[in-house]
């Protein structure tokens, strides 16, 4: 498979002030699995220099979608690109979420939803989704989520939608008793909390992690995180890890 290609921007839509959905047209059929990521080179010149990694948010035929938040220079430049412009894409890279055999739990915090939507779409109507955000404005694609998930639990920190509080708390109340494998993606604070909650439970819990990347293919050793077995590369040994292996 060709792992480097040019793709045309079909749409680069602002969902809120700082969250965008980017749709691109891939020139051939690609096979990519939930949890994997692509690297987008944002401009032709060298500032920003490196491509930026983004999870597959959705893939259907030749339309590949990313959901991203503007954080710094790369995403800021990306957010200003328009329909018709071209991007250099490499990927897919990384370990995917092990396929769920039966029902499963998904826990997403904030923009972490970008990494798990495609999983639920591929394995539909079997996920208990716990999705937390700061505000209801930041709950994206609610309708689509209801379609692909089995059940949806939403929390917002300011209480503007459903449960008021953090998503791990809602999960503790409504999901912890379910003995199902867990798939999760979200901020480090959420992952740490989750690890605590699961201390005495014996279900597999897969976490999609993030680290700054240069090569994306395991060559630069730049993206390591600490695991029980020493440093591991997020780009190739991850981004999906078993929560128990991570030293958080």
């Amino acid at each position: 498979m060709n792992k480097i290609f040019k793709a045309e921007i079909l749409k680069n839509q602002a969902l809120t002030e700082d969250v965008y959905c980017l749709s691109i047209n891939v020139p051939f059929n690609i096979e990519a699995k939930p949890g994997q990521f692509f690297i987008i080179k944002i401009n032709e010149r060298f500032d920003p220099l490196l491509g930026r990694p983004f999870s597959i948010f959705d893939l259907e035929d030749k339309t590949l979608k990313f959901l991203y938040r503007v954080k710094g220079k790369g995403t800021s430049v990306l957010s200003k690109l328009r329909e018709g412009q071209n991007l250099q894409i490499t990927g897919p890279f990384g370990k995917w979420y092990p396929f769920p055999k039966d029902d499963y739990i998904v826990i997403a915090g904030g923009i972490g939803i970008a990494s798990v939507f495609y999983l639920m779409k591929k394995f539909p109507k079997r996920a208990y989704l716990f999705y937390g955000a700061r505000h209801r404005r930041e709950i994206f694609y609610y309708k689509e989520l209801e379609e692909v998930a089995k059940e949806v639990f939403i929390s917002t920190e300011c209480g503007t939608l459903d449960y008021k509080g953090v998503i791990t708390e809602l999960f503790r109340r409504k999901g912890l008793h379910l003995n199902l494998p867990i798939y999760s993606c979200g901020p480090m604070i959420m992952i740490r909390e989750l690890k605590k909650l699961l201390k005495n439970k014996d279900v597999p819990c897969y976490v999609a992690t993030e680290e700054r990347m240069a090569c994306g293919v395991g060559a630069c050793l730049g993206c390591v995180i600490e695991t029980k077995e020493g440093f591991k590369r997020v780009c190739t040994e991850g981004p999906v890890f078993e929560i128990g292996d991570l030293i958080l």
Binding site: L49, M213, A214, A219, L221, G222, V224
Partner: protein, 304 residues
């Protein structure tokens, strides 16, 4: 007519003058998913030591304007694992394998050099005297003329293969350092390694690199690297390998004109995995356009 791209570095003949730089191309495997790495003049593998090294605590990289800082800390799988797990794969390709190496002290430098010298499938050695990360004094011998002299002499006396010494840019007079290496029997000089640098998170007031400082690479440093390659190429008779911020054919050509006999592509591999072979193609195209039959005719052709 296809121009001739072959160059000689000591005893080593490269079919074309484009290498991939140590630490930026893994052990070759990582990039063979993108293109046929046999097309490369050579591959300089990630710095090797006798024993495996864990490397530095993350965060290890940060992007800066047209550059990046890294502090990998020479993480590597060690000599034994390299020979057992990586070399057999690399041997399958029709390209030259150059082993970049370092040690914690001079004895270790000598020992790993000897082992690599005796290993089949390794075509040349690159001695890294210039690691900018937090490190022992010995790894920084490239900054001290006396240490450098002694080390190159000792290592030279132990190895038969082509010995390249990779210099640090962090000196006032790089030509002087290169001359020391030449005198002590190095077959070639490669430069530059990364430049010590720093970037701070103003909110947390911490360095964005786990070890506080790291090494700057990428297009940002190219004009500095080019100046140094030019200074060194004028000062020594042995071949010079130009490294630093090369991202396209034009950049590489600047180094040849300044006197480099070969170039190594580093950070560019991260920006575009096909950089190195696109550079070869662009060099070829330029030579055809300019009616230069042999790349060696371009080398050192700067009009001063």
């Amino acid at each position: 007519m296809k121009p001739l791209l072959e160059v000689k570095i000591g005893e080593l003949t490269l079919k074309n003058p484009v290498l991939t730089a140590s630490g930026t191309f893994g052990y070759g495997l990582e990039y063979s998913q993108f293109f046929d790495i046999s097309k490369l003049g050579g591959i300089v593998v990630k710095g090797l030591s006798l024993k495996p090294k864990e490397g530095n605590p993350p965060p290890r990289i940060y992007e800066t304007p047209c550059g990046m800082i890294n502090s990998i800390g020479l993480q590597n799988i060690g000599f034994d694992a390299f020979v057992k797990e990586k070399l057999p794969f690399l041997k399958k390709f029709d390209t030259k394998i150059i082993a970049n190496f370092f040690g914690e002290n001079l004895e270790e430098y000598e020992e790993i050099a000897q082992k690599l010298d005796a290993t089949d499938g390794i075509h040349a050695l690159e001695m890294n005297v210039s690691c900018p990360n937090k490190t022992s004094e010995w790894r920084k011998m490239g900054l001290q003329p006396e240490l450098l002299k002694e080390s190159v002499r000792k290592v030279r006396s132990k190895v038969k293969k082509t010995l390249i010494v990779k210099l640090s840019p962090q000196v006032t007079d790089i030509a002087y350092m290169a001359k020391i290496c030449e005198e002590e029997g190095a077959d070639a000089i490669s430069l530059i390694n990364t430049i010590p640098a720093m970037v701070i998170d103003v909110k947390t007031r911490k360095s964005l690199i786990g070890t506080l400082t790291g090494g700057l690479s990428g297009p940002a440093i190219r004009p500095i690297a080019l100046r140094m390659v030019w200074e060194v190429a004028k000062a020594v008779k042995i071949p010079v390998i130009g490294i630093g911020g090369i991202v396209n054919g034009r950049d590489a050509l600047e180094f040849f004109i300044a006197g480099a006999k070969a170039v190594a592509v580093g950070t560019a591999n991260f920006i575009n995995p096909l950089s190195s072979i696109e550079i070869i193609e662009e060099i070829e195209k330029f030579l055809i356009e300019e009616k230069i039959e042999n790349i060696n005719d371009l080398i050192g052709s700067l009009i001063e």
